[in-house]
């Protein structure tokens, strides 16, 4: 599929900007997303479905979000598509997480 992910040769992306002494993860949530993706059993989805879900991201969102944000988007979308949970359950989990965060603030 030709899409925004097909970046080879694209112009206007700017310098590479490598980071000195880069950590494996830059935030705790990156650790968690990585581990969630790895821990979900292979019977639920395969790697090609995972990749294709990222490739289906809206182009502007793809370019303006980070690697592990792509993974997060992918897991939310794919788990719903695979019938592992409903969108309404995810929304309820968002609101629970927000309440818990406010409660502890």
């Amino acid at each position: 599929m030709n899409g925004i992910h097909d970046l080879g040769g694209m112009h206007g992306m700017g310098p590479v900007n490598p980071e000195t002494d880069e950590p494996v993860f830059h935030a705790d949530w990156e650790r968690r997303v990585f581990a969630l993706m790895m821990a979900i059993p292979g019977s639920v989805y395969n790697i090609d479905e995972f990749r294709h879900t990222i490739e289906r991201m809206e182009a502007a969102e793809y370019l303006s979000t980070s690697y592990y944000e792509h993974w997060l988007h992918c897991l939310e979308v794919l788990m719903i598509e695979k019938g592992q949970f409903e969108r309404a359950e995810l929304e309820a989990a968002w609101s629970n997480a927000a309440s818990a965060a406010n409660g502890s603030a």
Binding site: G8, N17, V24, A35, V44, L75, E76, R87, A98
Partner: protein
């Protein structure tokens, strides 16, 4: 595509991840202990120190180097490395005539068992866009000048196949053992954006 009957996700990414994790735990799709073990493994045990040992062995043992270049996956497994994102490995050798550079233009395919998880720049748009169209300019940004007359080969990873660069052994390292050699080998040299220096 957006369905406006739906609540938008929270703008706080950490919150969104917490919500997803709690839902997956509740559904029994993941277990907390497994998550912690995965993080421990990839943050502390798997990394470019593994690939460095493969390189040091290849520099020290010509028979091993021949096996590595002929069929990398079993040769790497001889040192105990393999598995996820390293199921089908190809090792490409830098020489005085050829410099190799790795990229994944479509996503971020990278040989985890030997190099660990990829750095941000490898996964980001500028490197993926430019490594294939102007590799010498990209190398220059990493401080690597490739002489005229040296061929630059860029290897674009596929969904299943992963590359690793076997860097050139630096001059002045003839007396060093494998451990000392491995200590000289950097992650970037095995991606092809650095050369190995003798000190």
């Amino acid at each position: 595509m957006a369905d406006h009957d739906h609540t938008e996700p929270p703008s706080d990414t950490a919150l969104r991840v917490k919500a997803l994790e709690s839902l997956l735990l509740e559904k029994g799709l993941v277990e907390a202990d497994t998550l912690d073990a995965i993080i421990q493994l990839y943050e502390h045990n798997v990394g470019p120190q593994n690939g460095a040992k493969v390189v040091a062995r290849a520099w020290s043992d010509p028979d091993y180097k021949a096996r590595l270049l002929a069929d990398a996956t079993p040769a790497i497994a001889e040192l105990g490395y393999g598995g996820v994102q390293g199921e089908d490995m190809v090792v490409v050798e830098n020489t005085s005539d050829v410099h190799n550079l790795l990229v994944c233009t479509l996503c971020s395919c990278y040989p985890w068992p030997v190099l660990g998880l990829p750095p941000v720049w490898y996964k980001a748009a500028p490197y993926r866009a430019r490594a294939v169209s102007e590799p010498r300019a990209v190398l220059k940004e990493f401080g690597v000048e490739i002489r005229e007359g040296v061929e630059v080969r860029v290897w674009d990873s596929t969904a299943e196949l992963r590359y690793m660069v076997l860097p050139e052994r630096p001059a002045g390292t003839e007396g060093l053992g494998e451990d000392e050699l491995a200590a000289l080998v950097t992650r970037d040299s095995m991606i092809g954006v650095a050369l190995v220096e003798s000190t």
